[in-house]
Symmetry: C2
Subunit: 452 residues, 2 copies
Amino acid sequence: MKLPVSTIPEPDAARMQCIACGRVQVDPGGWYQCAACGDLLELIPPQPSSAAVVKSWPEIWRVRRDSRHAEDLSGVWRYRELLPQFPLAPRGIVTLREGNTPLYELPRLAQAAGAAAVWAKHQGMNPTGSFKDLGMTVAVTRAQALGAQWVACASTGNTSASMAAYAAQAGLRSLVLIPAGKIAWGKLAQSLDYGALTCQLDTDFDGCVRILRELVRRAPVYVVNSINPYRVEGQKTMAAEILEQMAWQSPDHILIPGGNLANSSALGKGWLELAALGLAAKIPRISIIQAEGASPLVDSWHNWQGEKLQPRPARTLATAIQIGNPAAWKKAVRVLRSTGGDCLAVNEMEIAQAKAEIGRQGIGCEPASAVTWAGAKKLIHSGWIQPGQSLMLILTGHTLKDAEYILGFHRGEIPGPDAGAPAGLAGLRHPPRQLPATVEAVAAVLETAGRP
Amino acid sequence: MKLPVSTIPEPDAARMQCIACGRVQVDPGGWYQCAACGDLLELIPPQPSSAAVVKSWPEIWRVRRDSRHAEDLSGVWRYRELLPQFPLAPRGIVTLREGNTPLYELPRLAQAAGAAAVWAKHQGMNPTGSFKDLGMTVAVTRAQALGAQWVACASTGNTSASMAAYAAQAGLRSLVLIPAGKIAWGKLAQSLDYGALTCQLDTDFDGCVRILRELVRRAPVYVVNSINPYRVEGQKTMAAEILEQMAWQSPDHILIPGGNLANSSALGKGWLELAALGLAAKIPRISIIQAEGASPLVDSWHNWQGEKLQPRPARTLATAIQIGNPAAWKKAVRVLRSTGGDCLAVNEMEIAQAKAEIGRQGIGCEPASAVTWAGAKKLIHSGWIQPGQSLMLILTGHTLKDAEYILGFHRGEIPGPDAGAPAGLAGLRHPPRQLPATVEAVAAVLETAGRP
């Protein structure tokens, strides 16, 4: 390929601000970093012309629920007043009808833990099975508007699956870069299904990122890694959807898994912007829960008050948050500070236990999602979440994303004894039993299994 | 367990009709079979008091989209005027917000095949990843209304996953019976996640069914196998949701996978009932597509005009429709006859190819779902579906239900050469490539991969 010297043209001038030095600049495209200090950029939300205009938005969003237009059927673009404005490609937005995800109330968990109410917002019910779709619809729409032929990322997990699906829907090609010999086939299945081109490079993960960074400078490739600020804009609409589902009332606490920290940053950005607009009367405390083996933000928060972050090797079975050097940590610290949230880690046993307890409510999720309930129990136990307060768990991925984990738990290979379960939740493991083929044998098992 | 002599009490008298002899009877509970001839029963829909009442339903259903009540948030119970009426348990319906699944338009597939329009209704976007949830919400609600403590089935696939989730949501226990030594662990993962009790019995599948049949006679266990007619009632609301999404216009053709045939029966029942009510102006031809290795209905339809069915061993990689002795075959024949549909089989290569082509639109599905597109292409090629006609594919399961299949395809282990792809859809396989870590190497791959 003859590498052209120009990057993708930027026909408009979406305004961005550096999260570190605060410098305002037009969308630089390419690698999305501050021209002055090199830190991350975020989009400046469009300013409504008056308070009266903002007041009309909830009714506009409500009415759109009854529309059959693509941009209203999307649970992200329905709230497009909150999104950056840019000229679309002729075919419009790229959507798979993301968002519109269920909010479940879990009264048995609330009762067991002594909370006023426990809700679970299930982002794993998005089209490709993870919350990434909320941001990807905006990023890939932006890619198409810019005339990109390829979208790309360095990831083999939920991000590449989401990217590949939206690219396919748009008729764009998608490129996944991964370190050679590090293929997790199961995680790659979705990306292959949607037609992504996967390259194993003879380098490590950081090497893949370096190549990607160089590639976007020289070819019409649009990068959708987490540095892309359009993804955050899509993900922040989660705050509006939750508020709408809750009749514009906030819970006291929200708990969200912390990996690369873009999701918690987006949730916080969304809630704070809605509060500034006067659409959220209360700001919930947003607490970020990490796995013990991948908890650099917890260290930063408790040891250095969020002033610095020490990257470290990450190791947890909750693979979606197995990240030792999170890109968006400064944004996450800002969310903890401005909402009054806490940040803590839970161990593998607590994660497995929490996942099984959520499953027992009929709600499947990937292990990373379960850190929220594990963290909630600890915060209730410590008294930080008080009796009578309400809390919401953000579940980020579908249970089918990691079937192996479930089998490992029920085979006894993953720690998580039922001993620590709250009252009424014991007996979480159910390895298959072998029985003679008689009614009496089955009936005897029913008898000993007892009531739930 | 001391087995009580009585079965679950039946407090009300929902009316059912035998599909073979036509005898009308009150809900017999237990095993749900005709008291006279032993064949399957189906529920008689409630009769509206007047045509004016029926005319108001679409507006009522529309308004409910804007409600926050559980029975309105469900894409099944929203259409509750179509469902059997029975007294609910105090906690109401058992729902995980099933239904509300996306209808995708696939213009590139339409263009490639020469159809006026191709839509895909994606039932794999239901909470547990398959269409089974539509029926299970009604069956488990019924179980709870009857005071059952356990729900049970003989299945390790999509049915048991769905049953286990709804039972967990309801606070009921669930029992899965499977033949010893036949555990497909991957398929069992979801059921275990939701807390199902699994018993491996020292017998074959029919033996498991016999034990289940005996068990319901003697213990408060409610069976949700496909003989349960409440499941069909929930599944039939799919017709109403499609019509509502299509602004009450019907496509010319609907193609649906055929395994146990309960889903095609339900879709047909729903559409015919809506037509009888005056809510569907046109009845689409509903065609049932089977895998060649599991096509007893195709044999029945073409060799015996649907008058008899010869069970046979089933073998296909599309495991969700790997059924040689489908329970609902008589109902399915009725749907073919009354809608003017066709019934045909597609081979493994055609299924793999079709699945990859659907994936290339950004839509993932399990292999069984892809038979619809494979069948559509054959029916277009034969001229049975005419140029300018519109068609809709019913996708039944989520792509994450069978990640192994995708990997097998991209590794070249599953047949499906790209040679047969319609124009513009070639190059469906993308095994990962190994490259040196240079920008030039990656750029060269982009160049040769070309445009989509």
